[in-house]
Symmetry: C2
Subunit: 277 residues, 2 copies
């Protein structure tokens, strides 16, 4: 999928919502655990209930890995289901991978070749050769961690480079831009650091940003939009727990639908204000 | 396993070799691909042939993930085999994970609870709460990336902090020490940057270091030992391709045995020179 196609989906659905499929077997409704693949059944119900309001889904791979090979099987089934039933939806592997070039190649193979994800999140610590292998697949994207939504972001991401005066996350944004294009790179910028979004837009005006941290982590959607939107929206805002765990009972899909719709309505308003729809 | 037990294994085997199980289905002997689980069969043969000379094994998870759930099944079988047949061996998941605390918890569950790894490699970009969940398992270790062996290490790891004057990898070493102890933390330091090892020992004198990059990547074992050894050896030096792909034919296990033995003999000499055996 290219940038224009993603923007068209955003305009069509009047939404820039990404639903985080952080499916924890310990948190899904009890009655589902009698089925042969509760994680897949849960995901399928959530996807069917929310797809009208979401342009992207983002399984965090940790939740699947914690179940071993059975978790990977649930993940594979989820991606096959998504891609066959809703091919217009952008699907992100939130994997935060990154290794020497030779090995990052294999992670790219895992997520783009073996599975049919559209994008993978990658940590920048190991530099260019850990990120570039993900950009050799046409139409696929790498999403580089810049400024994350957690408390630990302050440990290293704000260190100031003596030479350029840039903070580490700014160095990451500046340097990594040269590795790809606005058609194959995005950045993770946490909603909990929304005040930084305006500065970040100064460095990467045209890239899409994947913004976690709205909802359970405390970030504000309005602030994110005001500081981070560009002429093609340029934002995918993720919500996980607020949607997928809106209810813990037989009505979980219905309540997830309501929660996703509420976020979509807020997003629609923000898109109208920005004259993008 | 605690630090003393690891040192005792090193003394007993007169080796600080870690064998990297970077098992690529496209590189293993062709005749194995007729078996129902070629990756596991290959690993089992390699382990049986080299275990006398190695104190640790390190599957790089990318190689298994690239095969989807079947790869995870091969990984699980490999770990079960290692832990039941050679319980004295230290087993490292080279996963380079790291996410917000809530999610790192799940990665810890994947590698320590679901699988029985002794250690996991973790990227430091997201800071303390991405690393600490791995330290809540008694006897288990987190291995934080400090200075990696690849070319991309120069992109960010050498940025100098304006306030402290530390390079980024030095900031990582200094700050992260406070998150754990020498009994649950190690660091990755690439052999290709052996000249930095002496400085690194100044910052982390007592921690074990996991050193990749000897062999195919060009690092020198002698230099690593001269600059990085401490009173409990303090080193696990990894070799992957040089051992597991020593031959591509029916004698692959035999040739892996020879290659591992050669490295062990060189290590024995270095341990004798350092008066550690």
């Amino acid at each position: 999928m290219n940038q224009q196609q993603l923007f068209e989906q955003i305009q069509k659905k009047r939404s820039f919502l990404c639903v985080g499929l952080d499916t924890d077997i310990r948190r899904i409704p009890k009655y589902l655990t009698d089925t042969s693949d509760p994680v897949f059944v849960f995901n399928k119900e959530i996807i069917d209930a929310t797809h009208e309001y979401a342009v992207a889904y983002k399984p965090n791979i940790a939740f699947y890995e914690s179940l071993g090979w059975k978790g990977w099987e649930s993940l594979e089934k989820t991606i096959v289901y998504l891609k066959s039933k809703y091919p217009e939806i952008f699907v992100i592997a939130d994997a935060k991978r990154g290794d020497i070039g030779n090995t990052s190649n294999l992670y790219a193979r895992a997520f783009f070749d073996h599975l049919d994800f559209d994008a993978v999140t990658v940590a920048p610590y190991m530099g260019e050769d850990s990120v570039k292998p993900f950009m050799t697949y046409p139409g696929k994207w790498v999403i580089v961690l810049a400024l994350t939504s957690n408390k630990g972001a302050f440990d290293f991401q704000f260190l100031k480079d003596a030479e350029s005066g840039d903070l580490l996350f700014e160095s990451v944004l500046r340097k990594s831009q040269g590795w790809g294009t606005i058609e194959n790179m995005m950045y993770v910028v946490g909603a909990t650091k929304a005040e930084k979004l305006r500065e970040i837009r100064g460095i990467v005006p045209a890239h899409f940003l994947l913004v976690p941290g709205v909802g359970a982590q405390g970030g504000s959607l309005k602030e994110v939009a005001e500081n981070g939107m560009n002429s093609k929206c340029g934002l995918l805002v993720n919500s996980s727990r607020g949607i997928i765990y809106a209810s813990n009972d037989v009505d979980f899909a219905e309540k997830a639908c309501d929660a996703a719709k509420n976020v979509q309505l807020e997003m629609e308003q923000l898109l109208i204000e920005a004259q993008l729809v």
